[in-house]
Amino acid sequence: MLANPTRFIGLATRLLPWLAGLTALLFAIGVYLSFTTERDYQQGDTVRIMYIHVPAAWLSMMCYTIMALSALGTLVWRHPLADVSAKVAAPLGAAFTFLALVTGSLWGKPMWGTWWVWDARLTSVFILFLMYLGLIAFNKAMDDPGRAARVSAVMILVGFVNIPIIKFSVEWWNTLHQPASVFRLGGPTIDREFLIPLLIMGLAYTCLFFTLHLMAIRNEIWRRRIAVMRRNAARAAQAGGDA
């Protein structure tokens, strides 16, 4: 059913208001809790940066994982919307990665005493940001969408090696960045007071991502239809002129 663009547009149009509403509700609760929970005994109020930084970092990796699954959909299953999904996810991933880098830097300065260090976690996330920008530039530069989709899918799958590097960089190397404190084998090490707003903000970011991703896929389908219609109109006008 999702392979048919017209059916996909119908489904997305029905789902989008609900997803957007859920996103707004989760953000309202998340923002309220982010500013009403206790300050951390060591970090003080800078702990409130965590509620926007950590979900952005999660989403930067989740978005690339979705792009990698879409790339598999393009190369292995030849799903007609897989390349659209990967293409439109790249700007969203770049925005979340940018947010993770900037908010991390603003958190690092008061806590670590520096805006930036070239440690394994920060550098691998910066590389992820460059990869997103590279994929956006590549998609813009290519004229043939079919060829662009296949080459881009291979590039995405090769670049996926960076995702486990980002995740485990804090365990494999000595980094200034702290190790995982939420998604870890022994369970979260973070206090419930901070964990609940963090998870709600994480859900809000995730819902926002899916809302924007659905909307962007629909936009890309419409953009391609408009291109075809303009081409048909130009051909018809040319044929009329020749006759």
């Binding site: 300050r39 003080g44 109020d45 800078t46 409130r48 940066i49 926007i52 930084h53 952005a56 700007p91 969203l92 925005a95 940018f98 947010l99 900037v102 908010t103 603003l106 958190w107 300065k109 008061p110 926002l208 924007l212 909307m215 962007a216 629909r218 936009n219 419409w222 953009r223 239809r225 408009i226 075809v228 219609m229 303009r230 048909n232 109109a233 018809a236």
Partner: protein
């Protein structure tokens, strides 16, 4: 009184601007494309798959 207020508000400011920015861009593009599609359809221009139908 919030400590490190500059860092906290700057980070939240960047987050709000970025998230509103990508939302407004995607929504604005959606509105533009919908209008353009309707305009072309009103001019009688169709895709080939629709012409066959």
């Amino acid at each position: 009184m919030m400590d490190h207020a500059f860092y906290v508000y700057s980070a939240w400011g960047v987050a709000v601007l970025t998230l509103i920015g990508i939302t407004a861009f995607t929504y604005g593009e959606s509105r533009y494309l919908q209008k353009e599609l309707k305009r072309l359809e009103a001019m009688g221009i169709r895709r080939r798959s629709e012409i066959k139908e």
